[in-house]
Symmetry: C2
Amino acid sequence: MSLEITPIEGIGAVAQGDEISDLLIEALGSYELENNDIVVVTHKIVSKAEGAVVVIEGDEEAFKRDIVESQSVSIVRRRGDLIIAETKHGFVCANAGVDRSNTAEGTMVLLPEDPDRSAHRIRVRLQNHYGVEVGVIVSDTFGRPFRRGLTDVAIGISGVTGVADLKGTVDWSGRELEVTEIAVADELAAAADLVMGKADGIPAAVIRGWIGPRADGKGRDLIRPVEEDLFR
Amino acid sequence: MSLEITPIEGIGAVAQGDEISDLLIEALGSYELENNDIVVVTHKIVSKAEGAVVVIEGDEEAFKRDIVESQSVSIVRRRGDLIIAETKHGFVCANAGVDRSNTAEGTMVLLPEDPDRSAHRIRVRLQNHYGVEVGVIVSDTFGRPFRRGLTDVAIGISGVTGVADLKGTVDWSGRELEVTEIAVADELAAAADLVMGKADGIPAAVIRGWIGPRADGKGRDLIRPVEEDLFR
């Protein structure tokens, strides 16, 4: 069976107080969500709706440095203007998630306060509207060591497994798999990004036909504990 | 427009000398490739077809350590049995890509000698057969710092962009994007993994409907040069 990934187009500018689920429903129009669909939403519109936005005061670069530090619990690496920080959620990412693209002039967008709660709220409201069970992922775009380019990852999830544990699963020769933990929520977020497009103003997508595990994960499931991390 | 990702089922055990393109064509059956389709193939069947397989001699763990070191140009981190190594291709990954899952008893599979060449060979033969332009990605499953779980990435590519460069692209407010390099080949590989399933013996998938950039990239486009890498 095929997987189908459909961009949700036509969501315009999002302002504080907007209900993301309502914007999605309106943009989806006649495309009705079905059981087991997964809706991926970039955090940026979630942050804006929740008011996780700051107005730049004074010198922009100095202000950004201050905001990044205020959003960080630790600085993992720093080179020039680039700061790789651990956020209060536990995510390790550039600038602690603070971003100036696709934001109103004179503002910066932060990560949502609690991306799992954001995902859960969207999910419950979508489920109530369509009368089906869906999953929701709130995504962000992260860099990574060793590899060039950025990919979208899951920072908040509801009704979706974060990491699928295949421990004990055997391959076709009866041997236990060596690779046992698959970051399915990150792969779903990356897949959704393929139809979104940062310059095109498409901040959400529907993934239909995914038959993977459906545990109710959390964004933190995807954070490698610092004591297991060879690179912190 | 939607993206459609279809698993290529029914590819059985692969042996040295097999032609991957022929196996794909047979497994695809009446599903004809179309212009701009992208075929993603896990490296494991490519390695087997190319004979990048070693027979275990003596103590398995000791043998594995030796093979991993022979496949590495440098050891990036080591903890217990886990070695994060840089391969001769430049990839940084666990055990230099040496893997014992889904291999014949008593053997280990290595990475292909030149995954781009492997991808190119498959692509040319698929294009000749179907009379259309396609892209091919050879994928592997890599871990990453900071985040739990593994995701599939592109180690060899042909007819697909590795990293899309959005430098100079502006967002809807006219501001230049902060995030300018998207690892599209890795996102395509991750998306394909969603329909593959390591335990299910589905080693390939077709991605249809992707309208992203089509430069003829290389696997090394996705390798962050060591001098730009804050974590090596």
